[in-house]
Symmetry: C2
Subunit: 211 residues, 2 copies
């Protein structure tokens, strides 16, 4: 199975700008990428990063400057189109800081011509495709759109129900999940940056304290 | 297995007050409860509602006016304490609008003296206990606290990784999940109330339109 991890090398994670500086956002995005790559490797697969620019991450990198959907579709076309012998392609987002080998194993082994992992907010956090005609469109409620695309091309679809893989880290409130459930570099980054869980009024937040 | 579903009959779901009236919040809370009860029943278990006041829901109801943790602990004590022949007790929150029989089945069949389903924001959305000394404390980051309680009483713990069961519906932003992934009364309620998915600026929200 080909496992592709798309990654934006420039100005990643802009929705975290209220709590992290530009260089911190870059470091945090790379910590999450490293966690995702380590989890993929622990399943026995060799990941490849599909990056918008050059980057050194210890695994093969393909650079494609185009927007996410175009870049991913180019990979799907190159790999699957017209080949009945092609193995499956998995696409796993780089900000799944809670990804574990066990959760990814469920994705990689689930039956279906297209297997989806929905993310919070209507997103598609990961998928596997074994169907030559399936393509992506990450805009908006991509999960619903991707189900529709799979239906339209006649692909059988299934879904992996995982909280860990549904949790992409986009906003400061998502830090709560990383602090609660993470155990890799992403969590270390947040702890080192002074973030800690705080309970106010029954709600749990991740607050930053200078050290 | 005993399956207990706690439910607050008075003024439920106050964090939805910006988008739903008091009577709508009550109706929505009951729609979610009905969805959870239906999903539990479809696994072959007979749920029991642990309510803060009298309520008619078509399943047995135990009324206990005390706060959630005390009421649940009273049930655990009554059922498990000192009995080596007692079967397991499951406690499933009433606002898991995306609960499916398949997701609950994973919880009910997972091995472990205590089996947890973490919720977003550090919560504990469901658990199964087979250990006589395990007790709950739902305040704050209850998931971490419950792991610690299990450790302290010497219970083996395991975790079920489910996005559907991790999604408790507390805030308007959670409506996106119900509209995307729900297929029961909770979703029907939101659709009938005029909520629909909307994509603005790449982010998906659930907006209310009068009909």
């Amino acid at each position: 199975m080909q496992v592709i991890v798309p990654f934006a090398t420039q100005a990643p994670k802009t929705r975290l700008d209220a709590v992290l500086s530009a260089s911190e956002r870059q470091d945090f995005a790379r910590a999450m990428l490293a966690d995702v790559l380590a989890a993929v490797r622990a399943t026995g697969h060799e990941p490849r990063v599909l990056a918008t620019g050059p980057i050194e991450v210890g695994v093969p990198v393909t650079v494609d400057e185009r927007p996410l959907s175009e870049a991913v579709n180019a990979q799907l076309e190159a790999h699957l189109e017209g080949r009945s012998d092609a193995d499956a392609v998995a696409v796993v987002m780089a900000d799944l800081a809670l990804a574990t080998p066990a959760a990814l194993e469920r994705l990689f082994t689930e039956a279906g011509e297209v297997v989806f992992v929905p993310g919070r907010g209507g997103g598609t956090n990961a998928f596997v495709t074994r169907h030559p005609a399936f393509r992506v469109d990450y805009h908006g409620t991509s999960y619903l759109d991707h189900r529709e695309i799979a239906r339209a091309v006649g692909a059988t679809a299934s879904v992996v129900d995982s909280f860990r893989l549904a949790t992409d880290v986009d906003e400061p409130s998502d830090f709560v999940e990383v602090l609660c459930h993470g155990d890799g570099r992403s969590r270390d980054f947040l702890v080192d940056a002074g973030f800690a869980l705080e309970t106010t009024d029954g709600r749990v937040t991740a607050s930053r304290h200078s050290r």
